[in-house]
Amino acid sequence: MGGREVNIPAAATARSGADSITLGLKGITKRFPGVLANDHIDLTVEPGEIHVLLGENGAGKTTLMNILYGLYQPDEGEILVNGVPVKFHSPSDAIRAGIGMVHQHFMLIPVFTVAENVMLGSELTRSFGFLDHRRARLEVQRLGQEFGLAVNPDTLVESLSVGAQQRVEIVKALYRQASVLILDEPTAVLTPSETEELLTVMQSLKRAGRSIVFITHKLRDAMQVADRITVLRGGRVVGATVPANSSEGELATMMVGHAIRLRVERPAAKPGAVVLSVAGLTAHDDRGQIAVDDVSFDVRAGEIVTIAGVQGNGQTELVRALMGLEPVVAGRIVVGGHDLTSASPRQTLDAGVGHVPEDRIKDGLIADFSIAENLALDVYYLPPYASGPILNPTEMVHNAEVRIPEFDIRTPSALTSVGTLSGGNQQRVVVAREFSRPVSLMIAAQPTRGLDVGSIEYIHERIVQLRDRGAAVLIVSSDLDEVLGMGDRIAVMFRGRMEGPFESEQLTRDEIGLMMAGATTGRNATSGGQPGGNL
């Protein structure tokens, strides 16, 4: 490409244009303190193929790809480009060899424009280092048109939807002439229709001779687009196959190591009185825009209502408003007959509401505190943990010694600090804390995000138990399988407005997908809610 500055010295392989390349990984091994993340992994990516890397959270997929992208160095093994061993000391080396990566958590600068983000690191400049925004704009538009990725070069990234941000990431990789594109869990943040669009883009990239490594734990997506599938478990390759020779069930078994239920089995709900009643709720996000727009719904005792929707459509703000963490601009929140609209977080918790926060590290746990202290985070000021102003730390430890085995938290002791636990164990601490309190309403936001299958199953079981003991449960989740599997009634949020809740038998997966993308059904929500809004 004429006119582009190359400001890093030449290294590994020299390329001209985006040729197709064959990528090989042989015997890649990587150890972190206490864990063998990658165990002698062999993998080949042929030119022009979509190669799915399948595995549950924690299986080692991202680590492997970070090695391929030059972010980590392997302890053993080598990387081969067209059969020649190479060493990637940094992402620049990988980029120069033709590897591009779209990370699970986007590597974008929110306050920069799309064009600035795309060219960062390989900027287009005029004399004296002045940025050439005009050429950058043209380049972004050209790439967008060539591969069907429409993005406006001049918008600020922070005002783009998640799906649009992902397109920017892909354009970034293509701008650097990636021959192999690594996509790390791209569909986790997309609506079903956006997922279809992405899969189409992948096909057009394939036709242009590029290869794609598609990392996912979603069996459906894997079966739909893969040319070949490699399954990782516990850091090792446990299977390699093609969709024609396999099935979702078989893949699931390979991923987890034993047969698992693909659907959560739960007995029918026996709903009772209304516990949570939300009417006309409106709330803002942290930039002052409306995030929750006139939302109304009920949750009854003994039932689970799940709210589906892609991140960023107001679910986060809805939960925070319900818990008193954000002010309510309009509307009412009533829990068990008490008006909690302007209640503080403490008052809400005291009223019998449990909260499993979306971000367990930021909102759910205090990393420096011990497990015992974290288990008492909501109740430290109440007897037996406190007598008046005096704290009783031994009581906290006793409590922990009961809860740790009860919730199967793997830890050397009750005094270990929570920050050292794995993600699954951390979430178990949060669940142990909230589920051990007397609650009439449990609000769980993304309760199983990023967890291993064992923890996911465990938490789902506990939620169903809680429901059957008579609590009302509200789950917010962007995982469609979780929404369908757990919801007695299902609602969908899009741009702050809510469709539903509807009885789960009345909804198909496709209908939910359409609602997540903004369609309205015109159907009335069930049991006590307002009619679904029309946009």
Partner: protein, 422 residues
């Protein structure tokens, strides 16, 4: 998220608008009450626009009736306050705020100068002079924070800069050598800051404060050891004279203020333009800002985060050292213990109030510089305010500004967070 963000997360935009409007009304009431009442109708204030020393074209004095001015301007502020409460000025809110503050200051000056005359030009000239080290310090903080490193050691860097500049300029009788020495010593302290903040990842505010204490102790120690016994050779630097720019210095009013200043002021203006352009229009600036916002994203784009941070912190140290040289070579020629008196922190406040931009920093620094210059000018007039309160003025002004009257802006997203390469 910090403690502040948590507790304020609940504030709504509406109440912020109203608070600002109420502030305007309060200012209006203060103007009327303090400067308008108890003043007879006949009292006038003379504002002088000429300096005896300058060659600028002569402009007649401005004579204003104090009482009418106070009440008139108070009425304007009250009106603006009412509009702000009801409708809000939105994007123009900061400009209106600046206007209200300027009107208040004008009414105050009129009242202070009642029945006598005040050199407005002299006051503005002095304001710019006092604002110069604050702006340079703000630029220092700016370069560091835009790359994601908090530099609280500006105060210390200024002190060693002032000390070294006085020492070297005195010993060599060469002002340029003095300025260079000042800059280099600031840079040296910045190297220590950089190593502890970037390599050892110690909390940046802690390192900054400890370095301030270190510089305070070191300059005090060396002053006693070297400058007191050898005053004549080591602590008698010549103050740099103002250099009038031909033609431009003759412009009425503006000439003496902007174009008849010493080299530090001119350097400040040049740096203002250079930094503004480089930070927002060049490749270097884009990378620096990327490092300060999302260092991991910058890293994956192939940018050397650590190197950029080191370079920017050291550049910041050089600038702070330059700011420090001003205190000796640009003002009094002699070093005294703790002569910066907290101005490094005021510079930081100016940077924050200026929303981490060079132009904004200058604006805020002018306000603080004015407060700093107040004591000089008002001691000539018979103002019934204890001089000690006037000396407090810059610190109180900073306090008010930092308390968010000006509103909160976002610092670079990765500000203060050490970058951990995995």
């Amino acid at each position: 998220m910090s403690v502040a963000a948590i507790t304020i997360g609940a504030r709504m935009a509406v109440s912020r608008r109203r608070t600002l409007g109420v502030f305007f009304l309060v200012v209006a009431a203060a103007m009327a009450g303090l400067f308008g009442s108890n003043v007879s109708d006949l009292v006038n204030a003379h504002f002088v626009f000429n300096l005896q020393t300058s060659s600028a074209i002569h402009v007649p004095d401005l004579v204003v009736p104090v009482r009418a001015t106070a009440f008139g301007l108070a009425a304007v502020c009250a009106f603006l306050g009412a509009v702000q409460i009801v409708r809000g000025f939105e994007r123009w809110a900061y400009v209106v705020l600046g206007l209200v503050i300027a009107l208040f200051i004008f009414a105050f000056l009129a009242w202070a100068a009642r029945s006598s005359s005040l050199s407005l030009v002299g006051m503005l000239q002095g304001t710019l002079v006092r604002a110069t080290p604050l702006t340079l310090g703000a630029f220092s903080g700016l370069l560091c924070e835009r790359a994601g490193v908090i530099n609280v050691a500006i105060e210390g860097q200024m002190l060693v800069g002032a000390f070294s500049a006085a020492l070297v300029a005195s010993a060599t009788s060469d002002a340029a050598a003095g300025i260079l020495a000042g800059m280099l010593s600031g840079g040296l302290i910045a190297v220590i800051l950089a190593v502890f903040a970037i390599r050892f990842q110690v909390d940046q505010v802690v390192v900054g404060i400890v370095l301030d204490l270190f510089c305070l102790g070191l300059t005090g120690f060396l002053y006693d050891r070297l400058m007191v016994p050898y005053q004549a050779t080591l602590n008698s630097a010549a103050v740099l004279p103002p250099i009038p720019i031909p033609v431009l210095a003759s412009i009425p009013v503006l000439g003496p203020i902007l174009f008849d200043q010493n080299v530090f002021v001119y350097l400040m203006v040049v740096l203002l333009v250079v930094i503004q352009v480089m930070l927002f229009r060049t490749r270097w600036g884009l990378r620096v800002r990327a490092v300060g916002e999302q260092p991991r994203a910058a890293d994956t784009a192939g940018i050397d985060v650590i190197r950029i941070r080191y370079i920017n912190v050291i550049l910041g140290g050089l600038l702070a050292g330059l700011a420090g040289s001003f205190f000796t070579l640009g003002a009094v020629g002699q070093f005294t213990k703790d002569m910066t008196s907290g101005r490094g922190f005021i510079a930081l406040a100016a940077m924050i109030a200026g929303h981490w931009t060079p132009l904004g920093s200058l604006g805020a620094a002018l306000l603080f510089g004015f407060a700093d210059a107040l004591q000089n000018f008002l001691s000539i007039l018979n103002v019934p305010i204890s001089s000690y309160f006037l000396l407090m003025a810059p610190y109180l002004a900073t306090l008010l500004v930092v308390a968010g009257v000006v509103g909160r802006a976002r610092p670079p997203a990765a500000d203060g967070k050490p970058y951990v390469k995995q």
